[in-house]
């Protein structure tokens, strides 16, 4: 081949490689930026006085007297609103005509106000969600719009979906005694809610109310941690022992070994939902390791899922250990088992660890296998050492249920983003720990 064309091919190949790397890096940035950006929103936001009140009431954080003073100041600012409402209600009570015209709109305004500022003075709702106003200033802005504008749908064009029409309530209530409310509320909302930049690091360590309206995601983090921990505990020793058998003891070409290897490879390709169903059928229904879903059943299922990964990476790592190490050890009179434990495994450790950590990330993020075997949306938050036989929260599952089954999912988007962010963070953290560990061990091995 001519030099020029060889160079051309060389260059275009280099260009292609660079292009694909840039593409991958770009994709990564595109994926990670919103996750990190929005996920941070769960931790960094403008928290209102309601947020601080919730923290004090439900979790006992914050200084009582400071918050009491703040709440008092906020109530002072809100009083005007409640006075206007009370006066207008009096008017409605007195006039049937006014009632007929405004009663429905009035209820909507009141509902909006309850969501924005919390229950009216004297009311004590049953649901936690209704006991407090908006804890976040960004959500409060949205709720404010609900109070200021009436939302109706225009169905006049039958070929189209209904069009949303917003009518300012100021116009609706024009001329009534309630009219000033709609100018006072936006003007003085800041005094009523007292937003302040908040670093809510307790998002990661607080438990949550059952519907995640308030509090953090600690139970989910803990559940994920437990599931991963037990999974690794089950899968790694088994995986490494299997890998040792396959490399050191099994005779190449033996039919059973070939069969086992094929099975492992097949297992690695089985869809995770199948593992989930298998876990339900086998661990829970047949072996009865627990009554219904449990951490034990879930981590056993996950262990099965990652076992092929662990075996394959450990096998490769063990195979990569120079043959001369083994010869040297055997020639010194060491038995095979001692050679494996003292020489081969330590030398294979970096590779084995990488495999373990990659499978850890997989185990932490898998949803399908735990749907039927371990995860629930409402569970007792686990204590640090509580039993294997209980079901648990788990991050991937909660992300899934929050966006598919939650009643007021729009209200808690930030929690959802926070969860995704945490999950990604956990996996990234795991990986970087593995990389560091691997680098350290390799350095030690290389001398």
């Amino acid at each position: 081949m001519q030099l020029a064309s060889r160079k051309l091919i060389d260059r275009s190949f280099t260009g292609l490689s660079v292009f694909s790397i840039v593409l991958v890096a770009g994709a990564l940035v595109i994926i990670l930026t919103p996750i990190v950006g929005r996920g941070m929103g769960a931790v960094f936001f403008r928290g209102t006085v309601e947020h601080r009140q919730v923290q004090l009431d439900l979790f006992g954080h914050g200084r009582g007297e400071d918050i009491a003073a703040e709440v008092a100041a906020a109530e002072e600012a809100r009083r005007q609103v409640y006075v206007l409402i009370a006066e207008f209600e009096q008017e409605l009570a007195d006039s049937i005509r006014a009632r007929r015209q405004y009663a429905e709109a009035m209820e909507e305004v009141k509902a909006g106000l309850r969501e924005l500022l919390g229950p009216f003075p004297g009311e004590t709702p049953v649901l936690y969600r209704e006991r407090y106003g908006q804890t976040r200033w960004d959500r409060a802005q949205i709720k404010l719009q609900r109070v200021l504008y009436a939302e109706t749908y225009d169905y006049s064009d039958p070929t189209q979906m209904g069009q949303k029409v917003l009518t300012p309530r100021v116009e609706e209530f024009a001329g009534t005694s309630l009219e000033p409310l709609f100018t006072i509320l936006p003007a003085r909302l800041e005094e009523m809610l007292r937003p302040r930049p908040t670093f809510y690091w307790r998002f990661f360590t607080n438990t949550a109310t059952a519907d995640y309206s308030f509090g953090g995601i600690w139970p989910d983090i803990l559940g994920t941690f437990y599931l991963t921990f037990w999974t690794i505990l089950f899968a790694v020793p088994m995986g490494i022992i299997s890998a040792i058998y396959l490399v050191e003891y099994a005779r190449e070409g033996n039919r059973i070994v070939v069969l086992v290897r094929t099975c492992i490879n097949t297992l690695a390709g089985v869809p995770s939902i199948v593992f989930g169903l298998f876990g339900l059928a086998f661990f829970i229904n047949t072996l009865r390791v627990s009554e219904g879903r449990s951490v034990l059943a879930g981590s056993l299922t996950l262990a099965l899922l990652i076992l092929p990964l662990v075996i394959r990476s450990a096998e490769e790592a063990i195979r990569a250990v120079p043959h001369t190490y083994k010869e040297a050890s055997l020639s010194l009179g060491a038995g095979q088992w001692r050679t494996i434990v003292r020489v081969i495994l330590p030398a294979a450790l970096p590779g084995v660890l990488t495999g373990v950590v990659i499978s850890m990330g997989r185990a932490a993020g898998e949803t399908a296998p735990i749907i039927f075997t371990a995860a629930v949306s409402v569970a007792r938050p686990m204590g640090l050492w509580s039993g294997l036989s209980e079901p648990t929260h788990a991050l991937p599952w909660s992300v899934y249920t929050l966006c598919t089954e939650h009643k007021t999912v729009d209200e808690i988007r930030h929690v959802q983003y926070g969860m995704v962010f945490t999950l990604v963070l956990m996996v990234l953290l795991l990986n970087s720990v593995a990389i560091l560990l691997r680098a350290r061990i390799s350095r030690k091995l290389r001398g």
Binding site: E252, T324, E327, G335, R446, G447
Partner: protein, 275 residues
Amino acid sequence: MAVMTGNITIQSCKPTDPQPSTADWKAHVRAEDFSVFYHRNEAVKKVTLDIPVGQVTAIIGPSGCGKSTLLRAINRMNDLIPGCHTTGLLALDGVDIYGPQIDVTALRRKVGMVFQKPNPFPKTVFDNVAYGPRIHGVRRRAHLAEIVERSCRQAALWEEVKDRLHENALGLSGGQQQRLCIARALAVEPELLLMDEPTSALDPIATDRIESLIAELRGRYTIAIVTHNMQQAARVSNLTAFMYMGELVEAAVTDRIFTNPQQRLTQEYITGRFG
């Protein structure tokens, strides 16, 4: 043997004429009609050879002549190769190495080995030398330190490594690594030391040091060394065995092999006509 020229007959297993100086040599390893097979392929063919106690025996021959295979048969390293089996007798101190009663790890403890490429473990210098004693039950740190020092001194390595015992052995130079491997082998106090082309991966200076080390170790250990390098065999050994195509062509006192070989094939090999 199709490749043999007509006038050469190979007398495998025929002991060479007794020499006055070899009369009192006691066999440490004795091979009688010993063959090694890789599946059907006979790599070592009916070899009869004595490796005498306390002497340096060199095994020379062209590549693929079975010299390494023979050497590795003595500590049963060939067991690692699937399909490898033996016939005939190979005895260490009169005990059949391939006998049913033999404990392979005990055998390997008695028969140390140094490999072609230096192969220290990726551990510290100390842990490398202490590896053998540790697996044979030495636990006390002071005792281990003593063994390490003695072995390193024997391997002429102590002065170079005494200040870096706790550094990784892979940081040593190639020649140092090979001497470390010798020290590691000596640390389990073997009776016999097998060396499989121990200097083929080393530069001339390191080679020289290993050769003088072998000279120092003569008498204390029985040494069997496989080498490509005929000058090396002439320099370090008392006894030389020449192998060709799996058969032992001639084994005799080194001086005689190099000055007055009995077989034409030997002569052709040592004069460099093939090999």
